[in-house]
């Protein structure tokens, strides 16, 4: 119990530190606010003939693009960033597991990325004048919480992968739009060739988009929403399990090769 409260304190401290650090970074501000805003403008404009009901779909979808981009570029670099600033050795040396600290960093990142959705909402509502209503506010709230958990957990998997495999990290730039497409953030995946559907089902962002779109736009059955929630929880558990293994392998490899602070 004491251990849990210590971890909770470490998560909060790490989240606060990360929040203070990243909110002044131009790249982060771009990823969280500017890029989703431009995508929302494009989406609202391109899809305007589909009527006002479509606005909430664009708001949620463009917000998700911001969530994914910041997860990929900020959470993905959460360990590498400590390496660049020379603080990784200290963090590994403290009694709190590195995974707990990175969890706090990812939590701050995902929560601040929610700003993407808020910005898109304000844009659609104030600038375009769409009357925006969330069809199922309570269910939407639950979907949002499950999305945060899934994205934070996903961040715990990609960060050590990027550290251990610089070649994978070099594909970072190219991984942004494919997930926008495969997860159906702004258009249904039914438009894509059938062979891509199983890939979509393996992505937590797809289930997050499903849950958030179904509960915000309405029209989804209870079973569909429950399946999306179940898949988000399922993937979160898998990610956390996998991340524990990855963190262990990463730290062991770094200690054996004495490359903790080296790229």
């Amino acid at each position: 119990m004491i251990k849990l409260s210590v971890y909770a304190r470490a998560i909060l401290a790490s989240a606060e530190m990360s929040f203070r650090e990243t909110m002044t970074d131009g790249f982060v501000v771009f990823g969280i606010f500017v890029q989703p805003l431009i995508i929302a403008i494009l989406g609202l404009w391109m899809l305007r003939d589909r009527g006002g009901d479509y606005a909430i779909f664009v708001v949620v979808g463009s917000g998700l693009t911001g969530l994914w981009s910041s997860l990929l570029f900020i959470s993905g670099n959460s360990i590498t960033h400590e390496r660049w600033t020379g603080t990784l050795e200290t963090l590994v040396g403290v009694p709190t597991p590195l995974g707990v600290i990175v969890f706090g960093k990812n939590l701050a990142n995902v929560l601040q990325s929610m700003g993407s959705m808020a910005v898109s909402y304000l844009l659609a509502s104030l600038l375009f004048g769409y009357p925006l209503t969330v069809a199922e506010p309570l269910l939407f709230g639950i979907s949002l919480i499950l999305t945060v958990i899934a994205f934070v957990s996903f961040g715990l998997v990609i960060a050590p992968i990027f550290v251990m495999n610089p070649d994978v990290q070099r594909w970072q730039n190219g991984l942004e739009f494919p997930v926008y497409i495969l997860a159906g953030f702004l258009f249904p995946i039914a438009l894509l060739p059938g062979w891509t559907t199983p890939i979509s089902y393996l992505l937590a962002p797809y289930w997050a988009a499903q849950a958030l779109h179904l509960t915000s736009s309405g029209g989804g059955t209870q079973t569909q929403i429950l399946v999306s929630w179940g898949m988000l929880l399922f993937f979160s558990m898998i990610y956390i399990f996998v991340s524990r293994v990855l963190f262990r392998v990463m730290l062991r490899k770094a200690r054996i090769e004495a490359t903790l602070g080296l790229e």
């Binding site: 501000v29 500017v34 594909w171 942004e176 494919p178 497409i181």
Partner: protein, 266 residues
């Protein structure tokens, strides 16, 4: 005559070295991710979004618009990083210490990115043909090639101007990314310009790509080079204006930095 030969050598050596330096650290995997996977997925994303909005019959509108817009990957990101790289890597004081012709040195930074950008746009159009049924059978290849060259030239002009900003600010990637994504809206890549408010149309006219995207759409629909020549001439002029603005900013930065002793101080 000797001075001309020296400047030509400086132009090509500087161009090659800055390009090689950029991609030595980026490595092939990064190059492939940035120049193959990212462009492909960007075209697919906006084309599918467009097709979802207006129907599959309009696929070519989005494919052409986004393929030409990809000239900005090399033009804006590549050129800016080549200019800013001298400051980040600490070679700027040496460059400013030489008597080399500044114009040749400055414009040379963009040379290979113009060629590289053309390859990127051609690849993007090929993706459009292979995956989204883009029909190039009515296009005049020479006219289309010239249009692509003009598009990469004008975006590189803008890149040279933005590259100078990397000499005076640390947040140049914020500016670059914002300009790159704004071009998706203002250039007409994804929206017919006539549907934009008049102030946005005015901004569009001052930006690179607006005219080359329109020209490429016309050429692919069967128009001749003579029909699109006025658009291309105007876009070349825009590119030249951006280069000159960038050059004056570059010289101003050099004078200020030397006067204040802030050449490599961030």
């Amino acid at each position: 005559m000797r001075s001309l030969a020296l400047n030509v050598r400086l132009f090509f050596q500087g161009a090659l070295l800055s390009y090689v330096a950029l991609f030595r650290w980026l490595r092939p995997a990064t190059y492939l991710a940035s120049k193959v996977l990212m462009p492909l997925s960007q075209i697919l994303f906006f084309s599918f979004l467009g097709m979802y909005a207006t129907g599959q019959a309009n696929a070519s509108f989005y494919v052409i618009g986004n393929a030409i817009q990809l000239a900005a990957v090399s033009g804006i990101f590549g050129v800016t990083m080549s200019i800013g790289g001298d400051r980040w890597e600490g070679t700027l004081p040496y460059l400013f210490g030489t008597p080399a012709n500044r114009m040749a040195m400055f414009v040379g930074r963009a040379f290979f990115h113009v060629l590289d950008g053309m390859v990127g746009v051609v690849l993007a159009l090929m993706w459009g043909v292979l995956l989204l049924g883009l029909d190039l059978s009515h296009a005049n290849p020479a006219a289309l090639g010239l249009t692509i060259l003009v598009a990469t030239f004008s975006t590189s002009g803008m890149g040279l101007l933005l590259g100078c900003l990397s000499l005076i600010t640390l947040n140049v990637m914020f500016i670059n990314n914002t300009v790159y994504f704004s071009l998706l809206v203002f250039s007409g890549a994804n929206l017919p310009l006539s549907t934009l408010p008049s102030w946005m149309q005015t901004v569009s006219q001052a930006l690179p790509l607006t005219r080359t995207i329109a020209a490429a759409r016309q050429i692919i629909a069967g128009a001749s080079l003579a029909e699109v020549a006025p658009l291309l001439r105007a876009e070349v002029l825009i590119g030249v204006v951006y280069i000159l603005l960038g050059y004056f900013l570059f010289r101003w930065f050099e004078r200020q930095a030397k006067r204040r002793g802030t050449l490599d101080i961030f």
